[in-house]
Assembly symmetry: C2
Homo-oligomer: 335 residues x 2
DNA sequence: CTGAAAGCGCTAACAG
DNA sequence: CTGTTAGCGCTTTCAG
C-alpha cells in the first residue's frame, strides 16, 4: 500500500489539509510546519497520487498524440519535439497510431476523453466524415492539428509552409538553368503535396518557364517515386531536373535512375522535400526542402498546452512554419 | 460539466450502483433495467471517467515506454509493436525519451509512478547506478527491459538473440569463401554489440578460420562506420568481407568504400545487423541480420500486461527472440 | 495559519 | 436483483 497524505498527516501531527497545502502552495502555511511536513514526507518516501489529484482538479496533465504511424521518420521527429515540449510543461504524452483509419481515430479519441487527457495532437482529420469532425469539435478537448493548414476552423493547426517550399524548389531549379523539369507527386488531392505542387507550378508559370512542365501523380512512397521515374524517363528521356514531392519519392527516383544508368546529378538534377535524416546519407546526398519537423511538434505541443491551460476555449490558432532549401549534391547547373 | 453515473441514475430512476453494474458487469442486474440504463446512458452521451474508476480500482490501464530516442528507427518499430499490443489489451502507452540520461530516466519513472501507470517498458537500465536500479526494482511497478538479455534478475527482459545473429553472419561469410574478414563494432562494452561480436568470433574460431580476424571498435553510428572503414582499408587493403555491428555502421561503410573507390560487393562483401527499413533502399541493398523489432515491442508489452494483471509479482521472465539472415546484394562469393 | 468537512466519479461490500 | 454506504487520495471551501 502506497503511503498517502493521511499517513504523513498522522505522522507529523497536523491535518491532511495542512499537508496538502504544505506540499503544494508555498504560501498559507507556516514555514516551520511546512518544513516539518516536507521532512516527514521525504522520510516516508511519499509521492503523491496524481490520479486522485486529477479527479479533484479535473486535469490529468496528460496530452495525447495521434499519428498515422510512428515508424514514419517524419512523425518520429515531430513526436520527439512534441514530447519534449510536453514534458517541459509538466505533461505526459500518450502515443497513438491510427494508420489514418477513421474508426481507429475515433476510438482513440473516445478512449482518451475517458482518460481525461487535457488535449490532443492529431496528424490529420482529413479522412473523418463531416459528422465525425463535428463530434470531435464538440467534445470540448482542445485539439491541434499537425501538418494541416487547410483544416476546418474548429481546430488549431501548425504546419510547414508547403507552398513556399514548392516555390523554392522551382526557383532553385530555374536558377540552375533547367528547362525540362518534371514534378513527381502523390495522389491528386493530398493537402500538403498539393500545396507543394501549387507553389512549384505557380512559381514556374510566373517565371515564364520556357517549356511545359510534366507533372506525374502516383504513390507518395519509395516505390511510387521509383515507378514514376521509370515511366517519366521512358516518356521523356530529355528531362534534366526532377522535383520529388517528398524525400522518400526522391530516394525511389535515385534508385530508378541508377537502374536505368542515368546519373544524379550529372545527367539529371533531383530535389526532394522534407529533409529526412537519410537525405544526407544516401548517395548522392540529396538536395531538399527542409521542414522543421521537430519544431512543428514542439510548437504544436506548446500551442496545445496554452489551450489546455486556458479553461475558456479561445479561438483556434494557426501557425505556419518556414521551410528552407538544403543544398547538397543531387543538383547541378545545366550544361 | 461532463455527465456522470449520477445523472444517468437520476434520469433512469435507479441507484448509481445499479448504473455502475449495468455499465460493467453483464450479470447481477436484470436485463430490462440494464437495457434501460444503457439506453439512457447512450441518450445522454455518457462516457465514463476512467480517472475516477482508476482511483478506486488502483489500475490506470496505462503503460509507459521509455526509449532513448523515438527518432531512432529501431525504437520506432519497437514502439509501434508495443503500442499495438498495449492497445489490443485495452491499455494506453505513454512515450518517454530519455536520451539514456540516468537522471531523466529516474525522473520519468517517478512521474510515471505518481500517475499510477500499471507497468513500464524500458530500453535500458545499464546506465543506472546499482542504487538506482534497486530503487526501481523496489518501486513495485512491473518493469520489462527491452533489448537487454544480461540485465539483473530483478527485471523481466525481451531481447533478440544477438549472439546467434553474430554467428549467422560469420557462417554466411565463411560459406562465401571469405578469409580476410573484419568486424566493425561499437564501444568495447555495449551489451548487445558485444554479444554479436562474441557470436561472430566464436563461430569463426570454431570453424578454424584460416586467417586472423580484425575487430575495430568505434562509434556505433553512420559516421562511426565510415571512419572505421577508412581506417580499416588503409591498414588492410586486402580485406574481402566486413561484418558491421549494425546497419547504420554498414551504411557508413558503404559511403566510405564509395569514396575510396572500392565496390560493394564486387571488391568487398558487407553484412549488417538490424534490418532497418532503409537496408533495402540503399545501394546496394544490404544483406543483414534481421531483428524482429516489431515483435520485440509486442512481446514486451504482452509480457508487461501479464505482469500488470497478476497483482502478485511473479518471478521475472526472459524472452529471447530469434534472428534471421536476409540475403540481399551486398555480399558475394570470393573469387 | 490550521482544522473540519465536503466531494471529485466511481466501485464494492453489505444488506435487503 | 437493487439500494445504501463507505471510501479511493486529494483539493478546497469555510470556519476558527
Amino acid at each position: 500500500m502506497a503511503i498517502t497524505i493521511k499517513d504523513i498527516a498522522r505522522e507529523s501531527g497536523v491535518n491532511i489539509s495542512t499537508v496538502s497545502r504544505a506540499l503544494n502552495d508555498a504560501y498559507g502555511v507556516h514555514q516551520e510546519t511546512r518544513g516539518h511536513v516536507l521532512a516527514v514526507a521525504a522520510r516516508l518516501n511519499y509521492y503523491p497520487n496524481r490520479v486522485a489529484r486529477g479527479l479533484k482538479t479535473r486535469r490529468s496533465h496528460t496530452l495525447a498524440l495521434i499519428v498515422s504511424d510512428i515508424r514514419n521518420p517524419f512523425f518520429a521527429e515531430v513526436t520527439r519535439g512534441a514530447e519534449d515540449a510536453a514534458r517541459a510543461g509538466g505533461y505526459d504524452l500518450v502515443l497513438c497510431n491510427s494508420d489514418l483509419d477513421p474508426r481507429k481515430q475515433m476510438e482513440y479519441v473516445a478512449s482518451l476523453l475517458e482518460k481525461q487527457v487535457d488535449g490532443i495532437l492529431m496528424n490529420s482529420v482529413a479522412d473523418l466524415s463531416r459528422k465525425q469532425q463535428d463530434q470531435l469539435a464538440a467534445s470540448g478537448v482542445p485539439i491541434v492539428l499537425l501538418n494541416r493548414s487547410t483544416a476546418s476552423k474548429s481546430f488549431s493547426t501548425v504546419c510547414a509552409d508547403n507552398e513556399a517550399g514548392g516555390a523554392m524548389a522551382a526557383q532553385y531549379l530555374l536558377r540552375l538553368g533547367h528547362e525540362n523539369i518534371a514534378h513527381l507527386t502523390g495522389p491528386r488531392r493530398h493537402g500538403n503535396l498539393t500545396d507543394r505542387a501549387r507553389g512549384f507550378l505557380r512559381f514556374l508559370k510566373a517565371a515564364n518557364a520556357k517549356q511545359g512542365i510534366t507533372v506525374l501523380h502516383g504513390e507518395n512512397s519509395f516505390s511510387g517515386g521509383q515507378t514514376l521515374t521509370q515511366k517519366l524517363l521512358r516518356q521523356q528521356p530529355e528531362i534534366s531536373a526532377i522535383f520529388a514531392a517528398n524525400d522518400l519519392m526522391a530516394f525511389g527516383a535515385i534508385r530508378a535512375m541508377l537502374e536505368l544508368g542515368r546519373r544524379v546529378p550529372e545527367d539529371i538534377s533531383l530535389i526532394g522535400f522534407d529533409n529526412l535524416e537519410l537525405a544526407s546519407v544516401v548517395h548522392p546526398p540529396l538536395t531538399t526542402i527542409h521542414q522543421p519537423k521537430y519544431e512543428m511538434g514542439r510548437a504544436a505541443s506548446e500551442m496545445l498546452l496554452r489551450l489546455a491551460r486556458n479553461q475558456s476555449k479561445p479561438r483556434s490558432q494557426h501557425l505556419l512554419l518556414g521551410v528552407e532549401l538544403i543544398q547538397r549534391e543531387s543538383c547541378r547547373k545545366r550544361l
